[in-house]
Amino acid sequence: MTVREPGPIELTAGECGERRTVPSSVVEAARGGDADAFMAIYDAYVTRLRGLAFRTLGDPDLIDDAIQDVAVKAFLGLPHFRGECAIGTWLFQITYRTCLNLQRGRGRVVPLPDVELPADDATADPAEAVLLHIELAAALASLTVAQRAVVFLVLEEGLDHQTAARVLGVPPGTVASRLSSARAALTRCLEEPRRDEETQ
């Protein structure tokens, strides 16, 4: 597995369209309160931050608000960012904490599945229908916020456990255990319909 830390990225054009180089001079200008410079950093990372926000929140309607909060927090905090980790790691940290608070604040919001079944279908199991239609989304939804964040950071973003641990504020061992249980749950949810059929 390719391991990398989400620091200032030197990517060639075309490898990943949204990822741009953030020169240190831009970071320094942003630290000094230059809003334009900060927006350059924002543009470089926003796609990945939105990805983390989407995974942790699970609600696309909340992403824009969350990212706005993240941007303001990052802008305010940048003068105090001491470079102990890559700026991308730091932005992931802010995003995760912001989304965690948003998610907790929402309480038990459980979206109603939008699966329509015939009214006279007495035998159909709507839950199964939901799972069939949105199998992977349901599998993700079955994970905890922390597990979903680990899945995003390690499986999707390719961060090593140490860096993911820094983002999440937990020991690396916790990242490993969360990843393990998340993998198990994802696999279970993805394969369960077949297993149910076998047992019935």
Partner: protein
Amino acid sequence: MSEEQDKRLREALRGLQPPPPGADARERVRAAVTSTAADAAAERAAAAPAAAEQPASRLWRFMAVFARRRQAAFGLAALAAVALVAGILLVGPPGGGGPEPVSASQVLQRALRALSSGRTLAAEVTIRERTNAFLTPAHYDVDRYGILLSADGSYRLSGRGASTIGWLPGVRSHPPVDVVFDARRGVLSTYSRKWGLTERYGYPLGPPDRWAALVMEFDFSAAGRALEAADATRLRTTAYEDRPAWAITCSQYSGPSRPAITDEGFHFEITIDKATAIPVCFKGFLYDQLTLEVRYSNVRVDAPLPDRAFELKAPVGAPVRRIQDGFRRAPLARIAKLPGYTTLVPARVPRGYRLTQAAAAPHAVTANRMVKGRKVVALQYARGFDSLTVTTRRVSDPRFAAEYDPLELDQSWVEQVAWPATIRAGAFRGVTAQVVVAPMTTTPHLWAVKDGVLLTVAGSATAEELVAVAASLEPAGP
């Protein structure tokens, strides 16, 4: 898991990407950052040169504290918002009368007693929420609803305008929405001009399956328990809409299984009408800034409800969707005869509870989508507005089901507050259950697994009562 499996997962996840940002998202961010930069510059200019770094530091600390506290703030906000309605859920003799209360606790108890005797409630509700605490001047979103409640659990929420806060899942920013839950029929109906009428039949009885109270995002008993556990409450007299009232202020709260949460910045205030002892207003503050307000106006307790209050019909021509959620109400004796189902009936329930409904479902997924089950049996007990739901279901992975809370979304929080209890009698004798009773907006609950059957007991009860119910389960008689 192999690299190959990880690769398959990554590829699958790649198909679930977030939608593109809103058209004005970047401009909004830029405006917020620019505004923040201007505020910070103004603070720096106002500060002494020698302390030029201080204002930004204080501001950042404030932001950091707010971010950290937001969980508590919203938790309290939610619980206190519901406390206004929630009072009717808590048991006790009717309020009023007796000596003048002299402490917050006495007032709270009086309010809970007064409301607990109610059988119906009608009111207008206005919710104001400060949605972005980082920007000034403060901006509040406002939702307005008419609410009708009945002691059998039925309710009707009538949107008085487009919802901007989105307290009702799935209806944010849509035109006015009506939501009706008919508890007796187990039918949840929603109507909006945009989406038409949706009727969900066979709605689950209660937690851990999706339950009607979720639509309101209110957890009545949890709110009551949190208030009971609240520390540092203060009492003062005040006026509410020209009527004498009490105001109870809480600056922190703690509970039996969760460490005290201190919050120097957040506090909330509940206003209680003196004449009726009915809670009528909740306000949440962060550093003296109002963050959330829930006002109940024109509150009528035990007034006759309109005919067909819990019916919802769509205008002619409106689209109608019907969804079957699979929980079939039936007499307990009939459910007990279903082959393959584990029908366990508690011999003991907390004082005042009585069995009101039983249902069976061939399949169900818990509301937090953590546990899939088969052959689900749900029994619901009621005590006024309190409810207690006992469920059993077969699970394909008992170890997984034993480990993960089937009710809560936030498992990391559960890990902090759940505690084990050994069930010493009944069908689950010798099994260690996990108990979650904490002063957050969670329904008190217990879960345990034995022989591939997941048991849950959830509702308005103390931890001891939950364990006692679990320890009294026996197979239903013929």
